[in-house]
Amino acid sequence: MNFALSDDHLMLRQTARDFLENEIDLAPLLKPGANVGNAGYDETWRKMADLGWPGLIVPEDYGGSGLSCLDLTMIAGEMGRTLAPAPFLGTLAGTWAILKGGSAAQKEKILPRVAAEGMKLALAVSDETGASDGPTSDARATATAGGFTIRGAKYFVVDAASADLLIVAAEHQGKRGLFLVDPKQPGVTIATLPWRDITRQVCEIAFADAAAELLVADDAAVWPWVRDRLLLLLAVESAAGLQVVIETTTAYAKERVAFGKPIGAYQSIKHQLADMFSVGECANVAVLYAAWALSEEAPRGPLAAAMSKSYACDAYVDATHRSIQIFGAIGFTWEMKNHLYFKRARANAEMFGAPAVQRARVIEMLETQAA
């Protein structure tokens, strides 16, 4: 046993950190009226493509790096630290769906393009309520001569507007299937939502008999596997963002003076930061364990993923709020980064099942084990 990160992992993380701290500039988002359109989504993606990041989890046979969940965590964490705006989550989600659900031919057709050309994907699973676990869906697929057409809508789809290919969950014959849909066809209308977390592109999609190709007829065996990885990804982002919040808030508390002392000399601030730090350590280890468990396809993987999502997101939401409090009025202004982290935290918490939802799942899984 060894719980320390290997040198390879540390190096992977350092490389990602050097790149992102260099490339990611959130300044344009801190100008009045800024939105995700100003986030430099595409440019950043191009640069990531030069590093081969689109293919991180694409198996080497398809020209990717074939990274495990644990390896990926090293890079995803840095994405979370910098709030890097790019179609990273969407492409990962799509890749996982194809890896788990796609035919050999489909993998052959798509994955090399993801790895080599930085083809962008998006996974459309959520319905109007934000529920993503199916089996119901706001979209229906109908078989046609050439394949399928999809009618209906999907909601809260991350990275849809920038995607080159959509993977869409739609009902067909009482089951929820996954379908490949070309977004660049008349039957597909994509609207980017005025999402509060302006470092992320979140969209609504309307399908008017859009042509589609079947990926898998029943996603019951595919979606849970993909969802576990998405939960991990959000947990990783959150735990890493939390670290930045702790670091910046601690630094601020040391230099900022009130009533003749640095505010960090007041016990109430000290203890708040100590709490944030302790919870941060917990989030880190929860995330690493989940990443390891999913990498190993360990039986506890899904449990660990749900636990890490619940814990890390709650901790992130709490810390980003406290951070604004400790910064004081200035931390409440648009021109500071505090609110970007606050909004990312709030959004991550809700995606693919809020912390309380994950906790209910945790007990369900334990009950099943016990039974």
Binding site: G130, F156, P194, R196, E255, F259, Q325, K343
Partner: protein
């Protein structure tokens, strides 16, 4: 003890109601002259009203569907005008009071500074006496209404050789004086709200605009920050305004959301706390009525009200799930028919971190309770007795 409010047939209530029924759309000038803007003031400005009459006037103004004067010109009515009454010169009272009460001249408070915040005594804006006027130089921040205000009440340092609290003085400023620049602040909600930065670039202020005496600035400012016009402040989430726990529970019931036992329990906790906050406000009111100073429950109410409000809007937002992250998605019906700035669940939520910021953060409030109410040892400000010039030597930022 009696928790009933003055009844509908209360003679004083009937008199006020008659006045408003006789004037369907009264001007604030009319209301000011009738004494309904500051009923607790002596005549001619007010009615020398006891707390109960003040309450009646509040309720009747609401009933007449007139926006309360203390919402139109809050700084004057709630905070600063009283200082002119007590410390102003006859000329100052003559010139400024009635236009302020009639809401013909909006006021703003030029207190907080980027380097200052809760440590107001550490402010850096200076007012240099030059013959028959002062020259003001510096920057203020978080000045609400500065963009609309004709009059500003400024606190600035007139004597840096004195300790931090002793060298301050107050001035009545024409906001259109040359050298004043007002810049709105965009907060994290993305809205251009009523807060501003105000820059003073050698602004000339006539000496007769000094409020009170030189060196009285600290005491005046403190009393203005304390001044709480007796009011049945409804425990809205944002500084008493905006949605309340009652609105939350009504809304969630209306939406059929109470089936979720977790949400149900959280909502109940908030509802109970909200009702208690109402009662504490009544208690404070009673104390005033019995001519006592607001008791310790007033401090307790402040300490609890702010985080309470934050939890109210947080629960409403979490109930929305993903949908709540979309700008403009309010989820629950607007409280108070959307009258007030914060009567919008979505805006109230993204604004809520501000509630525990600014002058009198939670930490300071708790220190006040611990020290003044419970008599625990006081936190010392090592710089309190030092001449300001000395304190300034090591250039340090100061906290907001």
């Amino acid at each position: 003890m009696d928790f009933d409010l003055p009844p509908d047939n209360d003679p004083r209530r009937l008199e006020v109601r008659a006045w408003f029924e006789a004037r369907p759309k009264p001007s604030y000038r009319q209301m000011a002259e009738a004494g309904y803007v500051v009923p607790h003031w002596p005549r001619p400005w007010g009615l020398a009203a006891d707390a109960e009459l003040q309450l009646i006037v509040d309720e009747e103004i609401k009933r007449a569907n007139v926006l309360a004067p203390n919402l139109v010109n809050p700084v004057a009515v709630n905070n600063c005008a009283q200082s002119l009454l007590t410390h102003g010169t006859d000329a100052q009272r003559e010139r400024f009071l009635m236009p302020a009460l009639a809401a013909e001249e909006i006021w703003c408070m030029l207190f907080s500074e980027p380097s200052g915040g809760s440590d107001l005594g550490a402010l850096r804006t200076t007012a240099r006496k030059e013959g028959d006027h002062y020259v003001v130089r510096g920057q203020k921040i978080w000045t609400s209404l500065a963009h609309k205000a004709k009059v500003g009440i400024l606190v600035a340092r007139t004597d840096a050789s004195m300790p931090k609290h002793s060298g301050l003085s107050q001035f009545i400023i024409d906001m259109d004086s040359p050298g004043i620049t007002v810049r709105p602040i965009i907060d994290m909600s993305g809205e251009e709200n009523e807060y501003n930065e105000v820059f003073f670039d050698d602004v000339k202020v006539p000496a007769d605009r000094l409020l009170g005496k030189e060196g009285e600035g600290w005491q005046l400012s403190m009393s203005q920050l304390q001044t709480e016009r007796v009011a049945l402040s409804k425990p809205g989430a944002i500084w008493g305004g905006g949605p309340s726990a009652r609105d939350l529970v009504d809304g969630l019931i209306e939406k059929g959301a109470m089936k979720d036992p977790l949400l149900r329990d959280e909502a109940a906790k908030l509802y109970i706390e909200g009702e208690i906050l109402r009662l504490l406000a009544y208690r404070t009111l009673t104390d005033r009525m019995n001519a006592k100073n607001a008791g310790p429950e007033a401090a307790a109410r402040k300490a609890i009200a702010a985080p309470h409000g934050q939890r109210v809007v947080d629960l409403a937002k979490r109930w929305q799930g993903m949908r709540g992250l979309v700008e403009g998605e309010e989820g629950l019906p607007r409280p108070n028919n959307g009258k007030g700035t914060f009567d919008n669940w979505d805006y109230a939520f993204w604004f809520n971190p501000a509630v525990t910021l600014g002058v009198g953060t939670q930490e300071i409030l708790k220190n006040v309770i611990a020290e003044r109410v419970l008599g625990l040892p006081r936190e010392k400000d090592p710089t309190a007795k030092t001449p300001w010039t000395e304190v300034q030597k090591p250039q340090l930022k100061t906290a907001s």
